[in-house]
Amino acid sequence: MLFKLSTAQETDLLNQPETGMGYQVVEASKVGNYLREKYLVLNSEIVIEINASTHDNVRKVINQGIVAFKASASTITFHAIHVLNEKQFRNSVSEPNTENQKGATDNPVKNATGDEVFIRLSAFDNDRRVDKVKKCLRPGAFTTTMDDYLNCKSTSDDPVERYALPNNDEIKFAFHIQPLKSDTLQQGTVQPANNKRGGGKEVYFANGTAAATFIKQTAY
């Protein structure tokens, strides 16, 4: 979620050093709550929760503009704000510890729901993980979720960065896969790799999917 700070707390943060250019990462607890959590603060005035949606939310603020965003945002009040310096912040994020933060293959295997559609993005019409004869995903293939794909597009994010792809070929195709309840998968977050930031959602199908689960191909 996203918030704005009170004027008093904006001033407090302005008097403290940045974590990086234009932003501070703070550890703080909300008033009335003793749980300390980390937040990203932009320009000492916009607060963004640090989770899998952080990149999307930063993009929202940039696209909307800080002034316009603040006009409609709710105010959050912290107590005991501690600003992390760059080293402290990097140390704190080096060990992903929740399922959502780990790569897909580090998470438990579970069955598909049968009604969820996953998207495989590719620069290739002849993507070799998509079996167009049996109409299925071959074993050992990655996709992303429909939500993440739509978020990537709606926020004009770069799929090569989001999914940490090693080559810069333009993503042109989206293969829509609807696995059966008998198909298994693992879900997680794309880890930084190939000098790309990652952060998108990834889904791994170790055993591929059943026949007729590749339902359509569209342009990216």
């Binding site: 993005l121 290739f124 993507d127 074993p139 990655f142 792809l165 080559n167």
Partner: protein, 70 residues
């Protein structure tokens, strides 16, 4: 600069298609050359395009085998 790549033969493609991906659309592999030289941590895109470093001058005939690299 456009990174150079080498199109693999059908036998290597068929091998890699039956091995798991490292990420969406790519695999990280070890390339063993007939000379004995081993190229680690190379990427293959769509199980068919081996990405080469700028100074690597190898042809498909130089490759003995390809395996997934950890």
């Amino acid at each position: 600069m456009q990174q150079q790549s080498l199109k693999l033969t059908d036998s290597f493609i068929n091998l890699l298609v039956n091995l798991p991906e490292t990420g969406m659309g790519y695999q990280i592999v070890k390339v063993v050359l007939k000379s004995g030289q081993i190229l680690h941590q190379h990427k293959v895109i769509n199980s068919e395009l081996l990405m080469l470093e700028p100074n690597e001058k190898i042809t498909i005939k130089d490759i003995d085998k390809i395996e997934l690299d950890k």
